[in-house]
């Protein structure tokens, strides 16, 4: 009897297990179906090209003739190519010009929007530049920053500041490119922070206020720590994005003047599509790829991306 009942239980367990497995499998299938479009995109537009680039980087392919295997020659050449390291340095400088200011401005705008102006119109205006393509933003600013006929210098001279060269001076070009990029991206950064601010429980501020905390203390002790997940997202994506600056440079300076804005992606583009050195350009892309993975891992580690201060 006991035996039989045990058998029954086992059978019941088996049945429910089977049912459970089927359910789980069905759920898993649904899950896979949901991520399938993204997965296809990831494989077709990221994984495959990355593998292909790695393969091309070991050849001397010039786009027109069949590729020949040359092993790691391109990497050896790259190591000794001063222009490549210069371009990495310029890119790093660009990231330094770009990220802190963009993040700080984005945060200030978000906090102001959260505390003072709740209007949808304000948020729409803030995000407007992000809705313009980089190329259009570049073209508009190219005209606005033109030293002789641009609006910016007309304004500056109007208030007694001497006209500036902006994109055509080697000292100001990279800063100007960074400025254009900040103008375009700061709204989006602000919007991300704004969304993050909405997830911070309001009672924390109320409690702090009761304890007599000032606005700046609340910002430091509550807002900033609880915004960390958003901060990680903003920093990781904007740092990686900044290292890949290309379109604004292509439209405004094309790496000049005197190579002062020859960022690494522009140098890769020049080699690939202007000098037809696809193998060498791919090798540089692979080095940049590995470098960016390391930068991202380091950022995640330093910012404790896996931990939240809430709760």
């Amino acid at each position: 009897m006991t035996r039989r009942s045990t058998d029954k239980t086992v059978n019941a367990d088996k049945e429910s297990g089977l049912f459970g497995n089927r359910l789980r499998r069905k759920e898993a299938l649904t899950g896979y179906l949901f991520i399938l479009p993204a997965l296809i995109g990831l494989i077709a537009f990221f994984a495959f090209p990355t593998i292909r680039a790695a393969q091309i980087s070991l050849t001397n392919w010039n786009l027109m003739r069949p590729a020949h295997w040359i092993g790691f020659d391109n990497y050896g050449k790259l190591w000794a190519d001063g222009k490549f390291w210069d371009s990495m340095q310029i890119t790093l400088l660009y990231v330094i010009y770009n990220i802190p200011l963009q993040t700080a401005l984005g945060l200030i705008i978000a906090v102001l929007a959260d505390r003072l102006a709740k209007s949808v119109l304000f948020r729409a205006v803030i995000i407007a530049p992000y809705l313009i393509s980089n190329v259009v933003a570049g073209l508009v600013w190219l005209l606005m920053l033109d030293p002789l006929i641009g609006l910016t210098n007309t304004f500056l001279t109007g208030i007694g500041i001497p006209p500036q060269s902006f994109l055509s001076s080697p000292d100001q070009a990279l800063i100007s490119v960074a400025g254009i990029s900040i103008w375009r991206h700061v709204g989006f950064t602000a919007l991300l922070f704004y969304a993050g601010l909405q997830s911070i429980p309001r009672d924390l501020y109320e409690a702090a206020r009761l304890d007599g905390a000032s606005e700046s203390a609340m910002f430091r002790m509550i807002t900033l720590p609880l915004l960390r997940p958003v901060m990680v997202f903003v920093l990781v994506t904007s740092v990686v994005g900044s290292f890949q600056v290309f379109d604004v440079i292509a439209v405004t300076t094309q790496g000049g003047p005197a190579n002062s804005t020859r960022a690494v992606l522009w140098y890769i583009y020049e080699n690939a599509f202007q000098f037809s050195r696809m193998g060498y350009a791919s090798a540089m892309s692979m080095v940049l790829f590995v470098f960016l993975i390391l930068v991202t891992l380091l950022q995640m580690r330093l910012l404790h991306a896996d931990r939240s201060d809430l709760g």
């Binding site: 027109m64 190219l142 002789l148 003047p257 190579n259 202007q274």
Partner: protein, 433 residues
């Protein structure tokens, strides 16, 4: 029997469109927007004569043109025929992307004697011909008639300008006189304020690597040449005559303030400055005459100044090349022949946008420009063997451009010393070969 008739009728109906309308489509690419409508006219005329061929013209801007072309070679989707530039000829020829037209020309007994001297030779290497010349270009001074009049000068004052790298000759004097500060003082007057210029006497963007309309005509007038012979593997950027010429241009901007500095010129170029009344004179190519006529009708043209060795202009010319991978080569060759024919060249000449490659079309073109009220004699006057030099045709065109541009930027930004900068660039260039 009825069934059979029906069957035949149906078969005929199915076959009819394919037999009657079977057409080869020849895809033709070009970058010049001004010329596209003219060549569309040629295409229409060609199609009327060849109902089995359809010409599909695609025009894209210069910047995208070459990238699109190179990538289309890989994707196997390149145009059957395309307008080609001498700067890209070596690379395309070496990689066998463009057809050698020699056997086709021989088969068709094509008469090439009508081209202006030098044009066909530019497109030839080791007995192979890689493009059929379609036009030619020289350079001239473009000046604003109103500003000239305001300065009390006559067009005849610009007809015989001279230049030297030491003091700039009469060219520099005229540039100075045409420069006006915001107080109305001219560049050669007492009290001229170099820090507040309303109109510059000359506007140039001297950073162009081939310097066709910027510096090459001046440097060449001192006897300097890019290379000593076509397809050379040695450049002459280290020649002191070039350094002197570029130094004169630099100082015109940085010392005399008669021309905007490269920082002031920005990326918009000389045309924009002329259109926006910031410049009284510039140097331009014959391919831009139409643009000036359209956008700034007050602009007229004068011959380039004569240097120590006389007037020298780059004699450039485009050609039509056939892609080696074209699936419709016969039709493509027919189209290329038509482009070079009297019929199409006359259409181009009458449109007055560019000078066709055939010598006997010069008169028609000049007349077409005259009808529009434009005197182009400044361009035709220098289209002689004595007053022209060939553009540099060598391998590594794009790499060289990139190196030269950076060197020119350094020179024009006032960095020391021009001769050293150019010598370093020259070493880098010559080490490519």
């Amino acid at each position: 029997m009825k069934n059979l008739t029906n069957y035949l009728l149906v078969s005929a109906a199915i076959l009819a469109p394919t037999t009657v309308f079977a057409q080869d489509t020849v895809r033709y690419w070009m970058w010049d927007g001004q010329q596209a409508p003219v060549y569309q006219q040629c295409a229409n005329d060609f199609e009327a004569l060849n109902s089995d061929i359809h010409i599909e013209i695609t025009q894209t801007g210069w910047d995208q043109y070459w990238t699109n072309l190179t990538t289309s070679f890989i994707s196997g989707d390149a145009p059957d025929v395309f307008v080609n530039h001498l700067m890209r000829l070596p690379e395309f020829a070496a990689n066998q992307m463009i057809e050698d037209l020699t056997p086709l020309l021989a088969d068709a007994s094509y008469d090439t004697s009508g081209y202006l001297p030098g044009l066909l030779e530019n497109w030839s290497k080791d007995g192979a011909i890689y493009g059929l010349p379609k036009d030619w270009a020289t350079v001239a001074v473009a000046y604003d008639r109103d500003k000239l009049k305001a300065a009390g000068l006559q067009p005849s004052d610009l007809a015989d300008m001279n230049w030297n790298p030491e003091d700039g000759g009469s060219f520099q004097k005229i540039i100075a006189h045409l420069t006006v500060d915001t107080n109305g003082k001219r560049g050669d007057e007492e009290g001229f304020d170099p820090n507040s210029i309303a109109t510059f006497g000359l506007v140039l963007n001297p950073l162009s690597p081939q310097g066709e309309t910027e510096w090459a005509y001046l440097a060449a007038s001192t006897g300097w040449r890019f290379i000593d012979e076509p397809w050379s593997t040695h450049y002459n950027f280290d020649d002191p005559r070039l350094a002197k010429t570029l130094t004169w241009i630099r100082d015109l901007a940085r010392v005399h303030h008669l021309m905007p500095t490269v920082e002031q010129t920005g990326r918009l170029g000389a045309e924009t400055l002329m259109f926006s009344d910031k410049g009284a004179m510039t140097v331009t190519g014959s391919w831009l005459v139409g643009l000036y006529h359209q956008s700034k009708p007050s602009v007229a043209f004068a011959p380039i100044p004569a240097g120590p060795q006389g007037r020298k202009t780059m004699f450039n010319g485009l050609a039509d090349s056939i892609w080696t991978g074209s699936p419709v080569k016969d039709a493509a060759w027919k189209w290329v022949q038509y482009l070079g024919s009297d019929a199409c060249q006359t259409t181009v000449a009458k449109a007055g946008v560019v000078f066709p490659a055939q010598q006997d079309q010069i008169e028609t073109t000049v007349k077409a420009f005259e009808d529009k009220g434009v005197d182009v004699s400044a361009f035709t006057k220098v289209a002689t063997e004595e007053t022209t030099f060939a553009p540099p045709i060598t391998d590594y065109g794009n790499e060289i451009s990139s190196i030269v541009k950076a060197a020119l930027e350094s020179v024009m930004l006032g960095r020391e010393n021009p001769e050293e900068i150019l010598t370093d660039a020259n070493e880098e260039i010559n080490s490519l070969f």
